[in-house]
Symmetry: C3
Subunit: 272 residues, 3 copies
């Protein structure tokens, strides 16, 4: 895992983020913490220029606006043209028709390198819509030790169908292509009490995939280990009276300070 972290620190990948206004500041600071560099732009007339000076594109549909959807497509087409990796974070797919349809349309029109979401969002995309071919998403609503086998089989199936890497994050994280699935057990449940740890991971994962073009699956898995391990390290520094606001800062701090050696030692994963 350490080489994927070190490649980010050495190459300083510039990541174009079209992301929600709730967690955007944390996404920017996490990108800086991990060794990347962030630019944010969602205006349709601005995004092609911005994506052209970057190395990767992170599309996050939280707080989706109709005006920013056009920006997502324009940036995505330009990124595809330039061969830049694109990550899609389908925040809230399944919770509204606009979000579900936008995510499905982005999947259909763009060549995505990674889709990262929670199990519910990923299942929504896997099922597709009336006009999109779906895969069998008959899988439990949480990835647990009990449901792990079927979950692994499901993400492989969906990764094959969607021709992309799929990252499902939760208590147990899965990062998979059609053949190989990383099962990752880093992290803490208290991370769910901080807004935007998923968005932050999507930003960082884009940097990892951008800086490791020959190993996108391994790099995506490494970024999930970094996030989870930072959650563990950050938690170990919590003092009496600290809560989710301080924990947010401690996690970003832990990403800032993480070395390849620490990652190598702390990453808890198996390959299936």
């Amino acid at each position: 895992m350490r080489e994927y972290l070190e490649n980010v620190r050495n190459k300083v990948p510039l990541v174009h983020n079209i992301t929600n206004y709730v967690t955007v500041n944390d996404v920017a600071n996490v990108l800086l913490a991990c060794g990347g560099s962030p630019i944010m732009s969602d205006e349709a007339e601005d995004v092609e220029d911005i994506t052209s000076v970057c190395g990767g594109l992170n599309i996050n549909i939280g707080t989706l606006h109709k005006t920013s959807i056009e920006g997502m497509f324009r940036a995505g087409r330009k990124a595809n043209e330039l061969g830049h990796p694109i990550l899609l974070d389908p925040v809230g797919a399944g919770a509204s028709t606009l979000r579900t349809n936008t995510a499905l349309a982005l999947m259909k029109e763009l060549k995505l390198s990674v889709i990262r979401g929670n199990i519910s969002e990923i299942k929504t995309l896997a099922l597709g819509s009336g006009t999109t071919k779906g895969v069998d998403a008959d899988v439990a609503d949480a990835v647990t030790e009990e449901s792990l086998d079927e979950a692994v089989a499901f993400v492989k199936r969906f990764a094959k169908e969607a021709d992309t890497i799929v990252a499902v994050t939760g208590a147990i994280d899965l990062v998979s292509d059609k053949d190989v699935c990383y099962v990752i057990r880093n992290g803490r449940p208290e991370m769910g009490k901080i807004t935007g740890t998923g968005c932050q991971l999507s930003g960082m994962m884009t940097a990892y995939v951008t800086a490791n073009p020959d190993h996108p699956l391994e790099a995506a898995a490494a970024s999930v280990c970094v996030m989870g391990l930072a959650g563990e390290t950050g938690w170990s520094r919590m003092q009496e009276g600290d809560g989710n606001a301080t924990y947010r800062n401690r996690i970003i701090d832990a990403i800032y300070n993480m070395t390849g050696e620490e990652l190598e030692k702390g990453a808890k994963y198996e390959v299936r």
Copy 2:
């Protein structure tokens, strides 16, 4: 007060927030800290779906956009249809015509459960506009021990006229319906040096009202006590060299850690 806090922690109310981009991240983290769960969406085509999966709606007109106004009305009508409580935070009413008129129009068209603002914003709404019937808002510009009687009378009058709970926050906080007014003396003046403590309170108050449908007045008052008490607890943890950035985190941390027992013990209020 403790049961209102505990109901939030036990029911985990999902709150739909249409709010400004300045303080939105803190609103989300405060909602998580108090035991609720936040969703943000302001796009007109998205809000009805989102509000339908939530339990309450928080409308905040800071950084108002013409495009988000339509979203506020659509979400509000849907929330009314579903019987969800709606809180209006009229940020900057009185400072611009667009904000004043939007707040008045929302009051007119929607059935609101709570309006929460500072005395200046609330007076603006009470006076209404040329086309809106107003109430006598001849009250001092700050709620102090000296102006308390007239301020209590004013908020009761406005609560009656507007048929809603009214929360006026400042050095002394008032939470009132037409008959009963909670006068609350928690908090610290230094909270005014942090951006968005009012917005944060509005988000948390929506969660409290949502999780306590049979006692909205008491729940709204409890959330004001929680915020003020967290301001006191947070301040007690400040160290030399700390300033408003750290204080912001300490307040959210204090909300995260607050128990019903602490609230019961620390809440400073009288009923008039």
Copy 3:
């Protein structure tokens, strides 16, 4: 320098910010920390009212939207009419045509008090476009001790041409009008690992220029010293395990606590 700081604390200048959604919360908290007061509004129909109740205007083109450009012009014209100082922060000028052209158009149409950016952004503006007269920007891409003489000459030239104060921030900061250039050596390189320290400085600089109308150059220079010195003080409070998230808070805290005496003692500048 101390009087410029103290004027901000005593006058509490109200600053209207049209700024990006990435760093807006930090801009608001820095304005409060330094003694000013922030209002954010970018909606075209809202900005004239808002700017009229403020004392200064901060225009930042990060995350530029076509809809907010109209707001920038309307607010700017109103601010000019009222004699309020306007600061332009041309975030990303040079990285996209939309940003470059918008910044140049704002320069052309509005009377600006200050332009603050990094050397690359300032060079882009100095070169102008096909329809804008440019100045010779044949200067190195970083202001170092080696390139200092030519950089000072360049910013004076551009300040004269653009008829405004020019602040170029980087490892060495320059704050200049056509005749006098402050060369400032406060700050730490680690500040570049935090998103938005430039945006924060632009907000604070607007407050300083607003509260010191007779000494805009000196006040702008003072605000740069405050930011850099806060970066040094904040760094001195960092503990093992702290990273860029905590550093962000420590810098804002240091601005909150900074006295005129500390500034006087810690400011490192020469006048050329």
